[in-house]
């Protein structure tokens, strides 16, 4: 049913349609509206057979989720930013134990400096924690990915993180198609766990494993994710057949025919990039795009196939591996190592900085002229950077960088009278 609805509320409705049995979450911006929406649905009886637990922290939220999933309940939670870091030990435990929890990550920057706005730093901090990580390009895809996520997680007994851009998607009100309960029930069978803590049939989960078997347990986790490389596109095809629209899959190509410059990105910025591609195509540029949905497992083969005819690749990403560059670009380079094709990294949108079409177009045009450097910071204000470097060079006690820059930009009162 078509609705004009906030992304978070739409996701809450979709998650509700998946009939979770335990929801345990701790509020943190920008994910809060999702779990608030689910809380309201449990309270007013729209979501039946679901226990909603309030806890004291994100660490507790995922720990409870681990317990309930191990007891055989379909389990959901959500977090963002520092919340993900606070639960990180449990994040590794959930995947290490093979528990099919679904978690929404409302992507947000990580401090310091504290910043509530969108980027992908939080997801990147957990990129090797063993979860399947799917990035939504739009709110419609965010709705649809959650439905696919429960089926994928439970089939493979692996946790799945659905990454949605904080504010940009979570707080946008748009026209979205919310499926019916019958549709979701037909797509998502009841949870049949591979392991259950049951007092009537006791087992233990979480044994200490020494050097004699740890590698094998880890290898099997990797094997499971490699299996997911096959299952993710199959589930996307099943979904398209059942719901009549495309969502998910490992990646999606956009206007790649004869494209010499190919832009790869994850999440909502791909919408803006598609508009830029259309504009540049209209002016005769040979440019196309790849929207990467599955970041873990990373689809090395399909990425290579999608980019094989490119003369250059531009990866636009909302994260920074300080001291290296772009995380996604590093992964893409691994896929591209057999080709002699330059892969440029464009770091964009950090801490919620807007990513305008004009800036993207300027950057893509520079790339097409082979004038884009290997690591480019979109719209970096060099004047601000250089003034701070100058201050730091002038004296030892130059003060805190963030405060210096805010003062420089006139964004805070220097002195309170």
């Amino acid at each position: 049913m078509l609705k004009q609805i906030e992304g978070s509320q739409a996701m809450a409705e979709a998650i509700g349609l998946c009939r979770p049995e335990v929801i345990c979450a701790y509020p943190i911006t920008p994910q809060t509206h999702i779990v608030e929406g689910l809380g309201a649905m449990v309270k007013d009886g729209r979501l039946k057979g679901c226990e909603y637990l309030n806890v004291e922290s994100e660490f507790a939220a995922l720990s409870v989720a681990i317990g309930s999933s191990a007891a055989g309940a379909r389990t959901y939670t959500a977090t963002a930013s520092q919340g993900l870091l606070f639960m990180l030990e449990a994040v590794y435990n959930a995947s290490g134990l093979g528990l099919p929890i679904v978690m929404t990550l409302g992507n947000r920057a990580i401090g310091a400096p504290i910043n509530i706005w969108n980027d992908h730093s939080d997801a990147m901090a957990a990129r090797d924690a063993g979860w399947i990580m799917l990035f939504a390009e739009s709110n419609q895809e965010a709705v649809d990915l959650h439905i696919q996520a429960f089926r994928l997680a439970e089939e493979l007994s692996v946790p799945v993180m659905v990454c949605v851009d904080g504010f940009i998607l979570t707080h946008a009100v748009e026209r979205l198609d919310i499926p019916s309960q019958e549709q979701v029930d037909a797509f998502l069978p009841p949870f049949e766990p591979v392991q259950v803590l049951d007092p009537a049939d006791p087992i233990s989960i979480g044994a200490m494993v020494g050097p004699e078997a740890f590698t094998e347990v880890r290898y099997l986790a990797h094997h499971k994710q490699m299996t997911a490389l096959d299952r993710i596109p199959e589930l996307a095809a099943d979904f398209a057949a059942a719901f009549g629209r495309e969502a998910g899959g490992l990646l999606k190509s956009y206007r790649l025919d004869d494209a010499e410059t190919v832009v790869l990105a994850m999440g909502s910025v791909m919408g803006t990039i598609k508009d830029v591609i259309d504009d540049m195509r209209a002016d005769g540029a040979r440019i196309g795009g790849v929207s990467l949905c599955s970041f873990r497992p990373f689809p090395i083969g399909p990425v290579r196939e999608a980019l094989q005819n490119a003369k250059r690749v531009v990866v636009v990403e909302k994260d920074l591996a300080v001291g290296l560059g772009g995380v996604v670009a590093a992964n893409v380079r691994m896929a591209m190592r057999v080709f002699d094709v330059p892969v440029c990294t464009v770091i964009a949108g950090l801490g919620g900085r807007s990513i305008p079409k004009t800036s993207l177009r300027r950057t893509f045009e520079a790339a097409a002229r082979n004038e884009l450097e290997g690591l480019h910071f979109l719209d970096l204000n060099w004047d601000v950077v250089n003034r701070e470097l100058e201050r730091a060079g002038e004296k030892r006690r130059s003060g805190p960088v963030a405060e210096n820059i805010l003062k420089d930009l006139g964004l805070i009162m220097h002195k309170v009278m």
């Binding site: 009100v173 748009e174 508009d275 807007s354 305008p356």
Partner: protein, 186 residues
């Protein structure tokens, strides 16, 4: 695509205004995308919200830098925020003020725009009269419907009632109608 930027202060329903506008457009079968400028939602702080309306799916995720229409919910922002940033001469301006452009110090600036596309209305007074609270967002949407002709007043009313059921909704519908008439009489 038609792009609307709404400027106001926290507590004036700036975000809800953009959302109701998107619902009104949705009710007319259009695609619409409403979103706030995030993070500054404090009472009294300058707040911006955005609404894009189009006949096809909206993929663009940048803030609205070149608006087709501006709704200024609080004229005191004129002294502190560059509310007119990016507005082309073909744009629409609707300001919540019982005073005219000349009194607001905009008499000369406003001459570059088509006279039928700029208007001041006392939306706060209308909200106080019909709703009992100084929240001008719904009234201004009635004014927006009148000045742009982009959406019908009936759609605005339906969006208001969807957001505010009952007495508050009815009051806001009355305020929107008053604003619609005030702009039409302008």
């Amino acid at each position: 695509m038609f792009q609307v930027r709404i400027h106001g202060r926290g507590g004036q329903g700036v975000v809800t205004g953009a959302e109701m506008l998107s619902v009104a457009a949705f009710l007319e079968g259009k695609h619409a995308q409403a979103f706030p400028s995030f993070g500054s939602e404090r009472m009294g702080a300058p707040v911006v919200s955005y609404c894009r309306i189009d006949d096809r799916e909206i993929r663009l995720r940048e803030p609205i830098l070149v608006p087709d229409a501006l709704i200024i919910q609080d004229p005191t922002l004129l002294n502190s925020v560059d509310v007119f940033q990016g507005l082309p001469d073909s744009g629409y301006i609707l300001i919540n003020s019982a005073r005219g452009f000349a009194e607001l110090g905009l008499g000369e600036y406003i001459t570059r725009f088509q006279a039928s596309r700029v208007c001041c209305i006392g939306a706060t007074d209308m909200a106080l009269r019909h709703v009992g609270r100084p929240v001008p967002n719904a009234a201004l949407l009635g004014g927006f419907a009148a000045i742009t002709g982009l959406i019908k007043l009936e759609s605005v009313n339906e969006a208001i009632l969807e957001t505010f059921p009952g007495k508050v909704g009815a009051g806001n519908v009355a305020a929107a109608a008053a604003a619609f008439d005030a702009v039409k009489a302008h």
